[in-house]
Structures are given as structure tokens and as C-alpha cells.
């Protein structure tokens, strides 16, 4: 110990890295493989219909609302939280945007929907960040509360906005063949990717999810960042509610029902870690597409309804298992041996 070596500090061990970064990246994209496999199956079984313009447009429309909600779920999951109120909150935003002042204008509806979503997110986030409550239980309460308010607002009867036909037009608008709703989704994808990858805020989100104690001790404003995440998620969900109106021109009381499950599933199959700190926007997008394609395909194949759920379930299980075989075989040799 008392020795002061005279030689310069030796270099750290040679970089232990396998291959090129592109290859590395490809290796870890198992969601992508699932998607490719699904698309292959679709092409083989129902190629002409599946890749037809009508079906692709439908698919895009089917993805765009859940796509936006999945982004909201992603940022919450990145912090190590979970938001199971997204579906109900979307319903609430849709119904109130449709009903307030009679839903006279699409633009007013957008403002209302986003505000409602923001409020829901702010309440969730405040309870999680400042009161230190479990996200699951908070958003479970919110799930029931928001859905209850939806029912109460219209006594369970759908609310059709005065501007119903403008909404219907909006939902059908395409720009160079791409539905406007899908474009909104893609813009949101870009926005969230920018926020997460390029800004200080984004890094804080990952830091909190990865190691909240270290984040706190490093002087990162943990509570306000957490709050902002839930608020942003709420805003996205509100936007989703407005898009729902654009697509269905009516605030139904089931709007957004069970969307939370789908959103969490998309985020997770896209590779995000539920305990936080790890997850990519790209993965969430792939996850969204996977579930949309599965549903679309089962419909196109006209799988018996009695069997649809069974098929979907089996497909998920087989897909994730197969996709990780390579992965875990590799892992087995490098990871700690265990019984």
C-alpha cells in the first residue's frame, strides 16, 4: 500500500465488446423479428388483402390512437412507474370534449381534450411524485374514477358532438395517402423521441427510472421531473381522446376501455423494462404495430371468435419465446450460471 508505483497507470483492460454497433443493435431487436415474422405470415396467408391500400389505411388508423397512448405509457414506464388509467382518461377526454358546450368545434374539442388529459395526468403525477404513492394504486383509483365520470357525464349514453360530421371528416382526411390521424401519431413519436433522447429532461427521466436514489443525490429534481412525466403522459392521452373523436365521431362510454393493457403490452414487447430506466421509442412503435397487426391478421384470417383470444395468446407466447431463443442461448454462456 505504501508503494507508489513509478510506472504510469496501466491501461484498463481491452474493450470487451462484440462486433459492430449495428450488428449489436440488430441482435437486440427481438420485437422487430416478431414483427417481421408476423408480416411474413400475413403475406403468405393473406398477402393481397393485407398489403392492399384499404387494409394498410385501416391498419394505420387502427394504430394511431393506441400509438399515442403507448407513447404516454412509455414515458411513465421509463420512470419505473405504470399508468393503468390511460384508457379511462382517454375516454374522459373524449366524452367531455364531445359534450362540453355541445362540442361545437373540432378545435375547441382539441383544447378541452388536452386539458382534461393534462388534469388527470397532473393528479396522478402529484400523488406519485409528491405524496410518494405507488403508481399502480394511484392510477387504479384514477382508472375507476375517470371511467365513472364518463358514465356519470352521459349516464352511460354516448355523447355525439355537434361537430360530429367535422370530426368524421377529420378522421377520414388523408395527406398524400396517409391518414391525418396517423400523421399526428408519427409527429408525436418524433416529439417524444426528441424529448427523451436530446434533452436534459429526457436524460433525467432515464436517470430516475434507472436509479432514483442516485438521481436524487446527484441533484436531479426528481419530484418535478416525475410530475412532468405524468402530466405529459396525460396530455398525450388527452390528444388520444380527441383523435378518438376524429375516428368515431362520438364519445362512447367505452372509449378507451382496456387500452391500458394494450399500451403496457406494446411498451413491454418493445423491450422496455417495467422497473424503469430502459426502453426505446422505436421499440414502443414496433410494439404498437405488432399488436395492431395481430388483431388485423386474425380478423383477415377470419379466425373463429371463440378461438381468436386463444390464437392471440398463443401467438404472443410463441413469438416472445422464439425471439429470445437465440438471445438466451447466447446469454447462457456469458451470464452467471445458475440453477
Amino acid at each position: 500500500m505504501t508503494a507508489t508505483a513509478t510506472a504510469p497507470a496501466p491501461a484498463a483492460p481491452p474493450e470487451a465488446r462484440q462486433g459492430s454497433p449495428v450488428l449489436d443493435w440488430l441482435k437486440s431487436q427481438y420485437a422487430l423479428y416478431i414483427l417481421v415474422a408476423l408480416l411474413l405470415v400475413a403475406t403468405i396467408t393473406r398477402g393481397s388483402i393485407f398489403w392492399g391500400g384499404t387494409n394498410l389505411t385501416n391498419l394505420l388508423l387502427q394504430m394511431s390512437i393506441i400509438g399515442v397512448v403507448t407513447l404516454a405509457e412509455l414515458i411513465v414506464v421509463l420512470t419505473g412507474g405504470i399508468d393503468i388509467s390511460v384508457g379511462s382518461a382517454l375516454g374522459l377526454a373524449a366524452v367531455i370534449a364531445a359534450g362540453l358546450f355541445g362540442g361545437p368545434s373540432v378545435f375547441l374539442g382539441l383544447v378541452v381534450a388536452i386539458i382534461i388529459g393534462g388534469i388527470v395526468g397532473a393528479v396522478n403525477g402529484w400523488l406519485v411524485a409528491f405524496r410518494g404513492l405507488e403508481p399502480f394504486i394511484v392510477t387504479l383509483g384514477m382508472l375507476a374514477l375517470a371511467r365513472g365520470l364518463v358514465y356519470a357525464y352521459g349516464n352511460g349514453i354516448p355523447i355525439n358532438p355537434t361537430a360530429a360530421s367535422s370530426y368524421a371528416t377529420l378522421g377520414q382526411t388523408t395527406i398524400i395517402g396517409i391518414p391525418l390521424l396517423a400523421i399526428i401519431w408519427l409527429v408525436m413519436v418524433a416529439l417524444i423521441a426528441f424529448l427523451l433522447y436530446r434533452t436534459v429532461w429526457g436524460r433525467r427521466v432515464y436517470a430516475i427510472g434507472s436509479n432514483i436514489e442516485a438521481a436524487r443525490s446527484s441533484g436531479i429534481p426528481v419530484k418535478t421531473t416525475l410530475w412532468s412525466v405524468y402530466i405529459l403522459a396525460g396530455l398525450l392521452v388527452g390528444l388520444g381522446g380527441w383523435m378518438f373523436l376524429g375516428r368515431f365521431a362520438s364519445g362512447t362510454s367505452t372509449a378507451g376501455n382496456l387500452l391500458e393493457l394494450e399500451a403496457i403490452a406494446a411498451v413491454v414487447i418493445g423491450g422496455a423494462r417495467l422497473s424503469g430506466g430502459y426502453g426505446k421509442v422505436f421499440g414502443a412503435v414496433v410494439g404498437t404495430i405488432i399488436f395492431a397487426v395481430i388483431a388485423n391478421l386474425l380478423s383477415l384470417l377470419n379466425v373463429s371468435t371463440f378461438l381468436q383470444d386463444a390464437f392471440r395468446g398463443a401467438l404472443i407466447l410463441v413469438a416472445v419465446t422464439l425471439a429470445t431463443i437465440q438471445f438466451s442461448r447466447k446469454r447462457r454462456t456469458t451470464a452467471p450460471a445458475a440453477k
Binding site: 385501416n58 365521431a249 362520438s250 377470419n302 371463440f306
Partner: protein, 319 residues
């Protein structure tokens, strides 16, 4: 613009089919969560096999968004006519206007007024009333002029079907000369287990209840489980506004005119399916035009009680 027109399609999508064997009919069922809907599917598949057309069948988990996706997928697969059990009476107006502009839509069970070609359903108000009258008769026969009752309703999202059955039943009681007081109303989600729990709670809160009304048989059967064999509920009776589900009919039959399960109303999934699919085939083959049909037609509406049970009870039926 994906759907440029809003006028209903005047002929089958993909043109008139020369032969039934070329016909493709899409059946967009609202859900499978109650036996009624499941039975409708089984019936429809039988009919398709008999008549020789191709049936695409999907169920939407009571979600309009899923239903739209499914209808679109059916159209993509070349369906000529759609048979739709709508998920939301009010909420699908624009959606169904759009869909119906491309393909004839025949509603079954639940329709969206002002859209589509025609609607085949049971008259929920009437079947409720007929069942209510039978129940009134029984109580008057027991010497009761007024009863206390609790109601098992559908979920909060039940827009028309449940409220009509409820109103019809209450009207029937009044017409039959029985006064009533509603002591509680809780949702049993049209399911037997949920109905049983709701009935338990309401009976605990109102032990002097005379009647548990279920807006369908599944829930009423749950209510029956609560009172059956329980000394403290020996004076509680059960009735339903609708369906004529096999298990309920069996109880009506076995109990006879002193049974605990008093009555229900006929809401036959097979009658409705037969009628709706018949219309769909007629349109697809050009035998009839969409404009030939009225906006609404009803299936046979009767109440089923101990007196006419034998006409309707078939232990071998699926529903």
C-alpha cells in the same frame, strides 16, 4: 377522404352474387360475454352451413373501436353484406353511416337508428311487459297487491336494451294490477356470477324483498342461486325481462306454477339470426333490394311463464 359518400349502399358490396355459394356475409357481433351472443354465433354458423354461404364472424368485446376494425377487415375480405350487432346505439352513428355507404348493413339485436338497411331485433319493451304481466298475475294469485322488488341491471353502458326491458316489465306489473316499490338497483353486468353478488347484497340490505328482477336470465339465475334453499329468503321470487335461456326455462318448468322463477320474455338468438341472415342473403343474391325492407322489424315477442313453458322449453337447444 376514405368514405366519400354518406348515402347507404343500394346493392351488395362487390355486386350481386349469382349464387348463394358465392355469397360472403360478415357478422360483426358486439361481444361474446353473455351466452345469448355466443348462441347467436353457433346458430349463424349452422345457418351458413345449411344455406351454403360463407360467414365471417367476429366479436368486438363491446368496443366500437374494435368493431370498426373488424368490419373493415370483413370488407377487405370481400363481404357482400354485413350483419351487425352494434356495440353502441348512439355512439356509432357516424361510423355506421360511413360503413353503410359502402356495404349494406343489417342490424341484429342492437341497431343504430338512421343508419344501415334494416334492423331485426326483439321488441325489448314488449317482451319485458309480457313477462311483467305474468309476474303480476302470480303475485296477485298469492294474495299480494303490492310488492317490494330489487333489479339487476346491465352495465352502465347499457343504452337502450336494458332500460327498455326494465320499463316494459314495470309497465307490465302495473297493467297486471300489481303495485311495486323498487328497493334497490345494482348492475350485474348481464352475467350470472355478477348478478348473484349484486342480488346477495341487495337482499341483505332489503330482507323484505318479494321479487328479484333480472334484465336477463343470466343475472336472474344468479339471483335464484341466492334465494334457492335459503330459509330466510323463502318468500323471495325471481323473474327476468328477457331471453328465455335454457336454464331459466328449465327452472320455470320444474317449479311449475308455484316455482320461484316466475317468468321471462322471449328473446331468441336463433329467431333473430335466421331472420337477419335471410335478409342478408336476399340482398346479396339480388332477390331483394335494400330499399325493400322497413327500418325496423321485430321478432316474435311473448312472455314465458308456467302456463306456456312447454311451447318454448327444449332441453336440447343450445341457449
Amino acid at each position: 377522404q376514405i368514405y366519400p359518400s354518406s348515402t347507404p349502399a343500394q346493392g351488395p358490396a362487390g355486386g350481386v352474387q349469382p349464387d348463394v355459394s358465392k355469397v360472403v356475409i360478415g357478422f360483426a357481433q358486439q361481444q361474446l360475454q353473455a351466452p345469448y351472443f355466443a348462441a347467436m354465433q353457433v346458430q349463424s354458423e349452422d345457418i351458413a352451413k345449411q344455406k351454403g354461404f360463407k360467414l365471417l364472424f367476429q366479436a368486438a368485446n363491446k368496443d366500437p373501436a374494435i368493431q370498426l376494425n373488424q368490419m373493415q377487415a370483413m370488407m377487405a375480405q370481400g363481404a357482400n353484406v354485413l350483419v351487425v350487432n352494434a356495440t353502441s346505439v348512439k355512439g356509432q352513428k357516424e361510423m355506421m353511416t360511413q360503413v353503410a355507404s359502402k356495404i349494406p348493413v343489417i342490424y341484429i339485436d342492437t341497431g343504430v337508428p338512421g343508419t344501415g338497411t334494416t334492423s331485426v331485433s326483439s321488441d325489448n319493451l314488449t317482451i319485458g311487459r309480457e313477462s311483467g304481466k305474468l309476474t303480476a298475475k302470480r303475485f296477485l294469485g298469492l294474495g299480494k297487491k303490492s310488492i317490494k322488488m330489487v333489479i339487476l341491471t346491465g352495465p352502465a353502458t347499457d343504452e337502450f336494451v336494458g332500460p327498455n326491458r326494465r320499463q316494459g316489465f314495470l309497465d307490465g306489473l302495473k297493467e297486471g294490477g300489481l303495485a311495486y316499490e323498487i328497493k334497490g338497483e345494482q348492475s350485474g353486468d348481464y352475467a350470472q356470477d355478477k348478478g348473484q353478488v349484486a342480488a346477495e347484497n341487495m337482499l341483505a340490505a332489503n330482507p323484505d324483498t318479494d321479487l328479484v328482477l333480472g334484465l336477463n336470465d343470466s343475472m336472474a339465475l344468479g339471483g335464484y342461486n341466492v334465494v334457492n334453499g335459503q330459509e330466510k329468503y323463502k318468500n323471495v321470487y325471481v323473474a327476468a325481462s328477457a331471453d328465455g335461456q335454457k336454464e331459466a326455462l328449465a327452472l320455470i318448468k320444474s317449479g311449475g306454477c308455484d316455482g320461484r322463477y316466475i317468468s321471462t320474455g322471449l328473446n331468441s338468438p336463433s329467431l333473430a339470426a335466421e331472420q337477419a341472415l335471410g335478409i342478408a342473403v336476399d340482398i346479396a343474391t339480388g332477390a331483394k333490394k335494400p330499399s325493400d325492407f322497413p327500418a325496423e322489424s321485430f321478432t316474435k315477442a311473448v312472455g314465458i311463464g308456467c302456463d306456456n313453458i312447454d311451447e318454448y322449453y327444449d332441453p336440447k337447444s343450445i341457449f
